[in-house]
């Protein structure tokens, strides 16, 4: 990948806010573009190794659906008391997974959680694909699929309209609106990045395809004003929408008069569960992807930790809801309610219930331990348990409430058939196929958004090396008075400067053997990045070789880059960083514009690798 700088100092600080920087290693803007665009432009062979199994799984979908259409819903395990069975369980499961994407893209946006920018694109893609999978199930569960359009308020041969008093009908509107709005939101976010891909394209087909879908986006500031307003409003509308969707899904249950379903806690409990499961899936997808795509400095451990905390919160809400359901079953004094819950925990489906309890209630509590929430491996395992647990939650809700209905003679036990299983696996095939196609052709990271949250994107940010140089010249202890050229109208500057200086004094404990393959780089105080040392293996992306290839790949990309002025820019950025980190800023001339033009001559300063310390090696091991 590009000037990939491994997340060596986890405590890389944001010079303005003083918090852990969202993007580690202080890369330049073009380095972000490079690292994100690379897997699309030079896909790794590994991609096909995942794509083929996904296609194989996907092939189960038409087979199961074909058999279902031919034979009817009798091919499933659904029986008379348990009419909903796996299809509805899977529907709720997939819709729930989708919710994390919208939560990340909309709710966190409204709360100004800037860390969302690293994960929102992938999470939104996950949302859309999960909702596509979800939509299959109720669509085919209607039995006579050729009449599925009766779900919509369109004239039909019955000459009747739909029943707007039914939650099932609300669900049709909620989920289809949700799908449409999520897709729009995702696409709007993609437009600037598609333009980036267009402008990087080397082939005509790519240029035309990306050009067409980027709608001729040219980054105009006048456009950005409208764009940002539209984005904010989409977030503002998607937020109540996502809450409504799973509330309405829960109405499918709660509005009915069935013990076990008829509870007022369902809407908040379902929403929390949905977010819980969705974040589980985001972690499952992102933890390997950040390693394979060399994005560990963009999707940092801080991001994983934040997501883990949301899992902890929503998992605890879910645990609370489970116990509150039991409490109410007892407290209400309703014997049928009480029976259902006793039966749930100790009846024939006790195995399902306790699987759910251990996965959803116990698993997230491990996140209280800092060691666990900072370990990607542990979080990955945990996220798998969350996914399993949330599927079982829906299983327990649907099956245990239905299997003992009001007439004991009709009580029955539910067992799925092979076609239940193949359809479910087929939906996973669809999900992974779509997600892999997304990874192959679209940027996984919202490039423009990540750039916009970097400190250097702030129009009042002060280049650390210039600030430091100015500081030398002025010998004013405090900042803020010497940078009038850069900041004549800003108040946040003084902060910036003082923090920057602190940062430049950070100790650098280098660990030589972490960088064996780059003698030059090491030799010259982390400044001299020799392109020829790395031009040979540009494509090696094996995770275990990551430490090497992260750096090795870069110069070739630059070398055959058609952009003729690239080296100059790199040199500039590189120098800035180098000087920010090195202490010897004294020899840096204070003038700014001159300085900028001269920098171009130092072509050897491609970028400065950050100090590498022991934590880096540990980090690799953990992942």
């Amino acid at each position: 990948m590009s000037h990939y700088i491994p997340p060596t100092h986890e405590h890389d600080l944001d010079p303005i806010q003083g918090r852990t920087a969202l993007v580690q290693g202080d890369p330049s803007f073009s380095e972000i573009t490079e690292v994100v665009a690379r897997p699309i432009e030079m896909p790794h062979k590994r991609w096909i190794l995942f794509f083929l199994p996904a296609l194989a799984l996907l092939s189960l979908l038409p087979v199961s659906l074909g058999w279902l259409f031919w034979e009817g819903v009798g091919v499933w395990g659904n029986n008379v008391p348990i009419g909903w069975g796996w299809p509805i369980i899977n529907f709720v499961f997939w819709v729930g997974i989708g919710h994390a994407g919208t939560l990340i893209s909309a709710v966190l946006f409204l709360f100004r959680q800037k860390w969302r920018t690293s994960i929102n694109r992938g999470a939104e893609a996950m949302t859309i694909f999960a909702v596509i999978c979800a939509l299959i199930f109720p669509g085919v569960h209607v039995g006579r699929v050729w009449s599925a359009y009766w779900l919509a308020p369109v004239p039909n041969q019955m000459q009747m309209w739909v029943n707007f008093r039914s939650p099932l009908l609300w669900d049709v509107f909620a989920v289809s609106t949700y799908f449409t709005v999520s897709s729009l939101f995702w696409y709007v976010g993609l437009i600037p990045d598609l333009a980036t891909m267009r402008d990087r394209s080397k082939t005509k087909i790519r240029r035309m395809a990306y050009g067409f879908f980027s709608l001729g986006w040219r980054g105009s500031a006048r456009h950005w004003v409208n764009y940002e307003a539209a984005y904010l409003l989409l977030a503002a509308m998607a937020t109540p929408l996502v809450l409504s969707v799973h509330s309405i899904v829960s109405f499918d249950f709660a509005v009915s008069n069935l013990p076990g379903w008829h509870t007022t806690i369902f809407p908040p409990y379902f929403v929390a569960g949905a977010i819980f499961s969705g974040f589980g899936m985001v972690l499952t997808l992102m933890i390997p992807l950040r390693v394979w795509f060399n994005l560990e400095h963009i999707i940092t451990r801080k991001h994983l930790e934040n997501m883990a905390k949301i899992i902890l919160l929503t998992g605890s809400i879910v645990g609370y809801a489970y116990s509150m359901e039991f409490f109410i079953a007892w407290y209400s004094g309703n014997e049928y309610e009480a029976f259902v819950f006793q039966n749930r925990a100790f009846g024939p489906y006790a195995w399902g219930y306790w699987t759910m309890m251990s996965c959803n209630v116990i698993t997230p509590q491990f996140i209280w331990f800092k060691k666990i929430r900072q370990s990607p491996k542990a979080l990955f395992v945990l996220s798998i348990f969350v996914n399993i647990g949330m599927w079982f939650e829906r299983f327990v809700i649907v099956v245990t409430s239905l299997h003992h209905d009001f007439l004991p003679s009709s009580w029955d036990y539910f067992s799925p058939t092979i076609w239940d299983v193949t359809l479910f696996l087929g939906s996973f095939g669809l999900f992974f196929t779509l997600f892999l196609l997304f990874l192959r052709y679209l940027p996984l990271i919202a490039i423009a958004e990540v750039k916009s949250v970097m400190p250097r994107a702030n129009p009042h940010w002060v280049d650390p090396d210039k600030a430091a140089a100015n500081k030398e010249r002025d010998s004013h202890g405090t900042s803020g008075d010497f940078d009038s050229k850069h900041d004549d109208d800003d108040d946040g500057t003084s902060d910036a400067d003082s923090k920057v200086v602190v940062k430049s004094d950070e100790p650098k404990d280098e660990e030589p053997d972490a960088k064996d393959e780059e003698p030059e780089a090491r030799a010259d105080d982390a400044k001299d990045e020799a392109p020829e040392a790395k031009a040979d293996d540009a494509k090696d992306e094996e995770p275990e070789a990551k430490a090497d290839d992260a750096k090795d790949e870069e110069p070739e990309a630059k070398a055959d880059d058609a952009k003729d002025e690239e080296p100059e820019a790199e040199a500039d950025d590189a120098k800035d960083e180098a000087d920010a980190k090195a202490d010897d800023t004294a020899d840096e001339p204070a003038s700014t514009d001159e300085d900028k033009k001269d920098d171009g001559d130092d072509g050897d300063l491609l970028f400065s690798p950050p100090p590498v310390d022991a934590s880096k090696k540990e980090g690799k091991d953990n992942e």
């Binding site: 803007f29 073009s30 573009t33 309209w161 707007f164 008093r165 009908l169 609300w170 509107f173 609106t177 449409t180 709005v181 729009l184 939101f185 696409y187 709007v188 600037p192 980036t196 267009r198 402008d199 990087r200 050009g211 709608l215 001729g216 980054g219 105009s220 500031a221 006048r222 456009h223 950005w224 004003v225 409208n226 764009y227 940002e228 307003a229 539209a230 409003l233 989409l234 509308m237 998607a238 109540p240 929408l241 409504s244 309405i248 109405f251 490039i447 423009a448 750039k451 916009s452 994107a457 129009p459 009042h460 940010w461 280049d463 850069h486 004549d488 002025e565 820019a569 500039d572 900028k596």
Partner: protein, 178 residues
């Protein structure tokens, strides 16, 4: 061959900071037909450029309320006028039960308003634009920042405008064909 028409002058900047201050200068010089181009939204740039706030919220507002009204009217007409049926002893116009399907079309049309309103106000899709004639402009979606002052601006004067842009610390200033 006649001389190609000139779109305007385009200046290139390296950082959002340079661009920001350059925009303030161009704004203060009184130009109207000009624009800045950035790889990502630079916050506060609209002030430095003297732009007005977006009209998108108004479109969304109108569309959202239209969607919600249509949603409710559809349910009312279908349930209470066109084919009234008594279901579970509920009134024909069971308006509390109509809330979800009132809300969802409101959101749906509001989102259409946001997306298509934004595209409409931006006059997108527009696959061809003169700025793409610049050799350096492809970096606008990567890491460079541009200002283009258009020749149709009454204050545009090749020499003076070029000097203004050069004085703002531009990396390069080029004349772009229309």
């Amino acid at each position: 061959m006649s001389k190609p028409k000139i779109f305007g002058l385009m200046a290139e900047y390296e950082t959002p900071q340079d661009l920001y201050h350059a925009c303030e200068k161009v704004r203060d010089a009184g130009y109207g037909a000009w624009d800045a181009y950035t790889p990502f939204p630079v916050h506060g740039l609209e002030k430095a450029m003297g732009l007005r706030s977006s009209l998108v919220p108004w479109i969304v507002c109108v569309m959202g309320f239209t969607g919600a009204s249509l949603g409710f009217l559809m349910q009312f007409w279908m349930s209470a006028i066109d084919y009234p049926i008594i279901i579970a002893a509920k009134p024909f116009n069971s308006y509390p039960a109509f809330v979800p399907v009132t809300f969802e079309p409101g959101i749906l049309l509001g989102s259409f308003g946001a997306v298509f309103g934004m595209l409409g106000l931006n006059k997108l899709p527009q696959l061809y634009h003169s700025v793409f004639n610049s050799k350096r402009f492809h970096r606008v979606t990567d890491d460079r920042f541009f200002i283009a002052i258009e020749a149709r601006d009454p204050r545009y004067h090749t020499e003076d405008t070029r000097k203004l842009l050069e004085d703002t610390g531009a990396l390069s200033v080029e004349e772009v064909e229309d």
